[in-house]
Amino acid sequence: MIARLDRAGWIFAFLLIATAVAVPFMALSPATSAFHLPSYLVQVLGKYLCYAILALSLDLVWGYVGILSLGHGAFFALGGYAMGMYLMRQIGARGVYANPILPDFMVFLNWKELPVAWWGFQSFPYAMLMVVLVPGALALAFGWFAFRSRVTGVYLSIITQAMTFALFKEFFRNDFGFGGNNGLTDFKDLLGFSLQTDAMKAALCSISAITLLIAYLVARAIVTSKYGKVLVAVRDAESRVRFLGYRVENYKLFAFVVSAIIAGIGGALYVPQVGIINPSEFTPGNSIEAVLWVAVGGRGTLVGAAIGAVVVNLAKSYYTAALPEVWLFALGGLFVLVTLFLPKGIFGLRWVDLTAAAGALLIVHFAPIAPNGLYQTYLLHLAFVIDVAWGIAAFFIIRFLLDWTIRRLGGATPDIARSSSGNGP
């Protein structure tokens, strides 16, 4: 079982290695340097990389096995909680209540002893084991029942969503023992290194990039093996695979557990970088957003899923700062547009489309036609619609010009992923 990379895979691997190497240098260069990367950007990049790990894990089950999990955020959050519990124990007597054993929220709740679930979390290796085991075990138990009972399609999606919602409710309760509504926060250090230093932030970002690369290589090895071909066959004609003598539930279960573990590791890297984990990570909305990343990037491509996570979150960061009211509409609109017009996502676009889209974005950004003042009034939605229409028009104009030029020159317009596995949906 070795990962055979296609062209997109090599580019992806190169970019991740470059990120892992460059970020520490750029982050630690003097603030006056042209290459200096401010620490908030390092943090944002690290966060996106963790989202990309979640997207990749989701693509493994959705893109290749057809399991549309609407609860993958739960595995991400469980990995995050396991890491958070280690970080809480590391605070020790430096907490507000200066209790060397009990985290602040337990002292506040007047608890006298550490709950059993928290035992061992002062040990880093134990905590890392739990990062893998807890999401893996939940996926194993959930998948064992669901796949054996042949729950598929929308019914499976609904129960995955119920699973994450149940966890959300449970973690919300104070007496469940994981910090309730507030979750776990005020982390100080990891393995003795302060989380507040630029060096540590850069290191976590680099580790996230390397982890994403490893997760990609593992997933790629899985989908290119004969096992992966069985998975695709299950996705496209499940009962036919049974008549060939394959134990379909075992195939699904293995992929689901691997996927949950990858998601859990993503969550564990996420928590020290954002500094908090709370029950909101379990909300179904989070999991659905992850599905959107995969759809936007390109389902069944792995690299596309990671790209989708970064692109959608870039857009989210931009909009929630610039036009917070508009973001949810944009997100919903994006889902509709991608489903209707881009079944293969960004990864299925031609280079011409991509260039035209980038051009349209630049035009809307630097030369919007809605007067800037309009955004300051109650008519801001109108302004938004005008600029979106302007962007779409710009996209088609640029694309037409590019296509026309290329036809004149007699060239073809290949897909971005022309050399990929051909297993895309």
Partner: protein, 253 residues
């Protein structure tokens, strides 16, 4: 047909006795009995709704009968096993509507079907070398060598039928259940398919469901006619087509 005319259980490769099943009150099978000897090829005919496909579903574990016995090789009780276990025992099936993995290549389709360990670990870590010979041989048999790297979804209807038969061959089962193999085929394709099935039947047991009487005649094997979920006639095609009940319900006067 009465039970006494059935060969004894242990000498059969497939043995159905008094099989009945109903769906929401509709009796799809009512006391179907059938026995197939090792190396035998049997053609099943009968009007729509006679229970031909339901019979296949029961043999392959897709449907559980309400009553009756279904034995494979004289010793395996198929009513207690699921699809995967039955396929592993050595029963392969070709569906009425060609069911190939459309978004995978012809070669990948055959790779998935090829006789090889079916466990997760075997497919995850095992090489594909063992299957290569089976794939080459099968491609030659079904004459799809040139389409090796094409997506199965891009094949013509007749080619898909052949690919599915090829998948059956690569699976190398002891018993082949073939549901309407020549539906949608041209005359020359139909004749070639009959030849292929006759070659297969030299070493395997085969059950063929087919409406095309010319094709059944070409096969030249024992025929069973089903009607309303039971066998109403059995024998050579000439005997069966002379049976007044068969003429009434199926062939027409």
């Amino acid at each position: 047909m009465t039970e006494s005319t059935l060969p004894s259980l242990t000498s059969t490769v497939l043995y159905l006795d008094g099989v009945a099943v109903s769906f929401d009150g509709y009796k799809a099978l009512r006391g179907l009995s059938l026995a197939l000897l090792p190396g035998e090829m049997r053609a099943i005919i009968g009007p729509n709704g006679a229970g031909k496909t339901t019979m296949m579903d029961i043999i392959t574990g897709k449907t559980r009968p309400d009553s009756g016995d279904v034995y494979f090789d004289g010793k395996h009780d198929l009513t207690k096993l699921d699809e995967t276990e039955i396929a592993t025992l050595g029963i392969g099936r070709k569906f009425q509507k060609p069911t190939v993995f459309e978004r995978q290549t012809v070669e990948e389709n055959l790779l998935l079907a090829s006789r090889a360990p079916r466990s997760v670990m075997a497919t995850l870590f095992g090489g594909k070398a063992g299957e290569a010979a089976i794939i080459d041989e099968t491609l030659e048999t079904i004459k799809l060598q040139d389409s090796r790297a094409r997506l199965a979804g891009a094949l013509s209807h007749g080619q898909k039928q052949w690919l599915e038969i090829g998948m059956l061959l690569a699976q190398s089962p002891k018993l082949l259940l073939v549901d309407e193999p020549v539906a949608g085929m041209t005359d020359s394709e139909t004749a070639a398919t009959a030849e292929l099935l006759k070659t297969i039947a030299k070493v395997k047991s085969v059950v063929v469901v087919e409406h095309d009487m010319a094709f059944v005649r070409e096969l030249g094997v024992k025929v069973t006619c089903l009607h309303e979920g039971a066998a109403i006639a059995e024998g050579t095609l000439d005997q069966v087509s002379a049976d007044p009940r068969v003429i009434e319900v199926y062939l027409g006067r």
